[in-house]
Symmetry: C2
Subunit: 321 residues, 2 copies
């Protein structure tokens, strides 16, 4: 899918910002001729990007001069301040000057800034960060990988619906199979939150469209795929598991190793927000910008919003009839 | 270390029991001439093992005829019944006729049977299942990988102490470095249980001997090693993470891939109990029996009990002075 995509990029987010963000922006610009970048950060940093681009491409870059940063050790609430680069970048999206936002900063800060500026989709208590892993049997969407850390049954159920909508729209799966990550597939496995979520999901009426709930799945199923196209877990477990898989691939070595994505889509907010890993490289930032453009062009967020609204309405019907 | 080791083996535990257990018992017997096996299960199954052994080795096998089984879908509490193979096997240990127990059954059932027959070490609220992964920088002990599923700060702290004692005794590390698995190393990361455990561990006085607490570590650090010799997490997270790493190695392929152990030591009970994966192969069961023999010969459990008692006493001193 093509078409202009205007991506606001947080120049100051990430352990190795702004260098890797500058590198990522240049790579993304080179790879996608219909990409327009709105660089949010100090003018002198943005000028580096502009100076490194061929003259003909420079018109595709604009700058929003902002100096404030949310450091990795800062409290996420600092990200509600509009003089920080992440909040200003989300503000460009909220005000319609950008189609999507990419930040490699503190993920808690990016989520806070997004919710503060954009709000949440109706029926979503907490947003989720979703990544797609390359399984043997096709892509596997894993969420939440770090937007919130406490496991709550109702949040797991909402995230199951968001993940199903995302898999359908981004990966073209007409009837995604959704699994709940647990420590076994036998009855009674899982902690309290998992057992309660399992009961709600088995009761049905929660997932959008033709998505189906396939029950609990195990850790193996995240890298390998097979039983589920979408795997739901809490943000604490998803985060440590994703990083463990990344470490395992690094230990296994070899040139043809599978890789773990370092850019996640934020689901549950009415806007396209991509959060890259704090330790993202230039290539990771470029793939995050490409993901943001792809999501914008697919209209994913608006479609997810509609899907979730339909599911919420159907649910309300059931309650009232 | 050598010396006779009498291992009670639950013939009926595991998805592929008794075939894989018979296979594992034969492999273990062949590999270790000072191993004595007490096979707990139906006589006709035990007879298969005996018939397959060279005549000279048969005197190293005795049989306890028990027919009851705790299936993978049964409630773990069934394992308190002494007519089940897992409970009878632990009973042989409790009554001094075996030095250690190995089961590949339902891990919840094995833990329940062990606590019912043996009790718990003083100061330990819940036992933990510990495995050792082969990291780049040396072995990494991960616990809990499934003995309990709810994350509680006091249990995480107790498991940190158990893991440190285990790493010192089994891996000969004089001053093991203990890390708490979290979703980042910045202050404020982690869920409530993790943040409270972090506070207790930073306050000190909890770990035995010269063990040190190195703070929070991330998912990468489990397969790769480096910052910590012992990594503590709740049994839900540990279980899904371990299986995800196993799946990642399977996806990465290749002949020289690292492997994930499929036998875990149960820590926190006064006896040597090894729990193999429900999907264990004969080779996995044999490695579980070898681990049980090694733990018995190293006197690990009695040493852990002493270490934990010393730590508890030191803690009590602090409270009273």
């Amino acid at each position: 899918m093509t078409g202009v995509a205007r991506i606001a990029v947080d120049l100051l987010g990430g352990d190795n910002a702004p260098a890797v963000v500058v590198d990522g922006a240049l790579r993304a610009c080179g790879a996608d001729p219909e990409l327009h970048l709105l660089l949010v950060g100090p003018h002198r940093v943005a000028d580096e990007v502009i100076a490194a681009l061929p003259a003909a491409d420079r018109r595709r870059v604009t700058v929003r001069d902002v100096a404030g940063v949310v450091g990795m050790a800062d409290p996420p609430l600092r990200a509600v301040r509009t003089d920080t680069s992440v909040r200003a970048a989300v503000g460009e999206l909220a005000e319609g000057r950008a189609d999507a936002v990419v930040s490699a900063g503190h993920s808690g800060a990016s989520v806070t800034a997004a919710v503060h500026a954009l709000g949440r989709l109706r029926g979503v208590r907490r947003p989720a960060l979703a990544v797609t892993l390359p399984g043997l049997a096709g892509p596997v969407v894993l969420l939440d990988v770090g937007a919130s850390t406490e496991a709550k049954a109702d949040v797991l159920v909402q995230h199951a619906a968001l993940g199903a909508a995302y898999a359908r729209l981004l990966h073209g799966l007409p009837a995604p199979r959704v699994g709940l990550l647990s420590n076994g597939t036998e009855p009674g496995k899982g902690d309290r939150a998992r057992r309660a979520a399992q009961t709600s999901l088995l009761a049905g009426g929660v997932l959008p469209g033709d998505a189906t709930y396939v029950g609990t799945v195990e850790g193996y199923d995240v890298p390998l795929g097979g039983p589920a196209d979408v795997i739901v877990t809490d943000g604490f477990t998803g985060n440590v598991l994703l990083k463990a898989v990344e470490g395992a691939y690094a230990l296994a070595g070899g040139a043809e190793q599978p890789t773990v994505p370092r850019a996640a889509a934020l689901l549950g907010v009415p806007g396209t927000v991509v959060v890259c890993h704090g330790k993202a490289t230039g290539a990771d930032v470029a793939s995050g910008i490409a993901l943001a453009a792809r999501l914008h062009r697919a209209g994913t967020v608006s479609s997810i919003a509609e899907t979730i609204l339909v599911a919420t309405a159907a649910d309300a019907d059931e309650v009232t009839t």
